[in-house]
């Protein structure tokens, strides 16, 4: 289990991470979200022991992370971390040795993973000659070649087409099933929503939202009603508790302050002649993210 407790990191006078705390259990996927410069990569670098926190502690299975522990951690950086002059095989042997793996084990796992990622033919090819997507696959393989107990994925879907994103998703879920704790960052909220049980949203290093995704959605008071039928936008806007009304292709999207105001909208709907659809929806993670980040920036 990874436990990050009250971690703060200063770069000079700038507070990059402010009193961050979270836990990732075995076989759990944790999403660390935030716009660029929110402090996600700094957090990952602190977990990897590349930089030290100014204060706070980071423990993995109750122990401080040092070079005895890092063999069990996989790290996929946001930017390319491959030595592009090497072949795929040489790269894996190099990183494998850094993870204290012997050559035989690395080659066995490499063959399996290359097959899984459908790039077996590139084993002896120089990394510099591969496409961006295939380089990302190789980078991902290098992060999991040691069968990590903790996997850190900083923007893992960068440069991938939809088919390969699906492939990555399946592999990540397989790792979760095998008990790997995974920390995940992505700009794509739909990916986070699909994977993560727990998440934290960072804004300028500060945690603005944290917890289980289900609870976050429930606790987020603003709800959305989808209406399709013979209704008037001006009438909807006048209803007590309605924040705004958005016209969509098929009807209207009505945002209300909280679910107690659903009845007010429903009373109006009853007066309308024709209604095809009336659905109360939980807000998407993207909407929560935009709202929370917007709040933090005072928008």
């Amino acid at each position: 289990m990874l436990k990050v407790s009250n971690v703060t990191k200063y770069y000079g006078d700038v507070k990059a991470v402010d009193d961050l705390s979270f836990e990732v259990e075995k076989g759990e996927i944790f999403g660390l979200l935030g716009v660029n410069g929110a402090g996600k990569t700094t957090t990952f670098r602190m977990i990897m022991n590349l930089i030290s926190p100014s204060s706070g502690t980071i423990l993995f299975n109750g122990k401080k992370i040092d070079y005895n522990v890092t063999d069990k951690i996989g790290f996929l950086t946001e930017e390319r971390s491959l030595l592009t002059k090497l072949t795929v095989k040489e790269q894996m042997l190099f990183y494998g040795a850094l993870k204290s793996l012997d050559e035989k084990t690395v080659l066995k796992r490499l063959d399996e993973l290359l097959k899984r990622f459908e790039i077996e033919e590139y084993k002896e090819r120089k990394i510099s000659t591969l496409s961006k997507g295939n380089q990302q696959k190789v980078q991902f393989i290098s992060a999991i070649i040691n069968e990590p107990k903790l996997l850190i994925l900083d923007e893992p879907f960068s440069g991938l087409d939809p088919l390969n994103i699906e492939l990555f998703k399946n592999v990540i879920l397989e790792l979760k099933e095998k008990g790997t704790s995974i920390i995940f960052s992505s700009h794509r909220m739909d990916h986070v929503e699909l994977f993560c049980e727990k998440l934290a949203i960072l804004v300028k290093g500060k945690t603005v939202l944290k917890g289980y995704l289900k609870d976050i959605k429930e606790d987020y008071k603003i709800k959305k009603i989808i209406i399709e039928g013979d209704v008037k936008k001006t009438d909807l806007k006048k209803i007590n508790g309605v924040i705004n009304v958005i016209k969509t292709a098929l009807g209207y999207e009505v945002n209300i302050k909280d679910k107690t105001y659903v009845e007010n909208v429903f009373e109006y709907i009853k007066t309308c002649k024709k209604i095809n659809k009336f659905v109360l929806q939980e807000p998407s993670l993207e909407e929560i993210f935009v709202a929370k980040v917007g709040e933090a920036y005072g928008k």
């Binding site: 022991n49 590349l50 063999d71 790290f75 950086t77 971390s81 990183y95 040795a97 850094l98 993870k99």
Partner: protein, 439 residues
Amino acid sequence: MENKFKFLTKYSLLKKIKNKWFIIANIVVMLIIMCLVNIDSIVNFFGGDFNDDLKIKVIDNAGYYDEIKDSLSLTENYFGNAKVIVSKEDKKLEKAKKSIKDTNDILLVINSDSKNVFNVEFITDSYVDKVKYQVIASSLNSVKENIALKKAGIDTNVLSKISIPVEIKRSFLDEEKTKDEEDSKSILSVASLIIVLPCFMLIVFLVQMIGAEINEEKSTRGMEIIIGNVSAKTHFFSKILSSNLFVLIQGALLLLYGGIGLLIRKLVSNSNTSLISKATSSLNFGEIFKIIQNAGVLNKLGYVIPLIIILFILSFLAYSLLAGILASMTTNMENYQQLQTPLMVISVIGYYLILISSAFPGALFIKVISTIPLISISLAPSLILSGDISVGILIIAIILLFLLDFVLIRYGLKVYKVGILNYSENDLWKKMFKAVKEK
């Protein structure tokens, strides 16, 4: 961690040695060195005018032909494989001139001269090189001196005494000093200059190599993965060790190529009687060794050479530590090239000072400079072997180098730890100073 250090060192070393460009460069360097050592044989093989016999025709109007012929025949040694053929010309001057038209032959017209025994008109169709002209002129002067002395009534015994060089007995107030020791200093001084030049080249090589390797890993962010699994200290020292081992291997290969060149030279030397080969054959290594042995210098070298080796090791370590630290601070190879320039200039200072040190024997300034780390590797070995500095000064140079290495390891490592994961040039020096201050 120890295994990872071994792995990184081995990986880095093998990566350099297995590189096809290393193999190609070494094949080229080997061929160049072997050609340079045997350059005279190569020049002779392709031939040219220098191999043509030198024909000297003499119109003797003074009656000294025999003496002149004997003297000129002795000059053959100076003209490589070419023979000197001296013949008496009986034709009239104008006909004799026509006979050397469009040739490289020389026509000497010897005329009596009451004041100067004889004078000579040196006639050729084309220009004559300076060496050839000087050799013939010296030979004629020698003939003139002998004839003049004979004419003065000096008998043969006296004449031979005059031609024998003056006997000089070299002695010293300090009885422990010997002539052989004096000669050996010059020999060793030249020898050290020959050794220092490849060392200088290897330093340049070392600094470039460390910088390129660290920048390559850093620029791809592969450094984050590496430092995520091994400490910066392990990574740093594996780079230093592998680069120094590589330089050591390259240095040994250069010596091997030189040895192969000399072996080839030895094998072809029997058929090689050129001027260069004769000149180089005067480098009798047995004789040189004898001088050094007689001078008692071997005993001194017994403890000076280990000290010089320590100086070399500490200097190479200092250069590689500095190169590693500077490379960690830069974000690309172009910036590293800029930052390492002062380091290269410092290494050149030592070599330049060796060249001018002979013009200022005993100069206090040069003695002081010879103790300064990074410069001492070039200057101190040459000065100690030529006797310009004492062993004490060499030891001071070693102590200063040791201190520099200690400081570089203690504080440079802190800079390295921060530098290799720093990708921004903003507040670079501030970050580095802060790293040094951290406990």
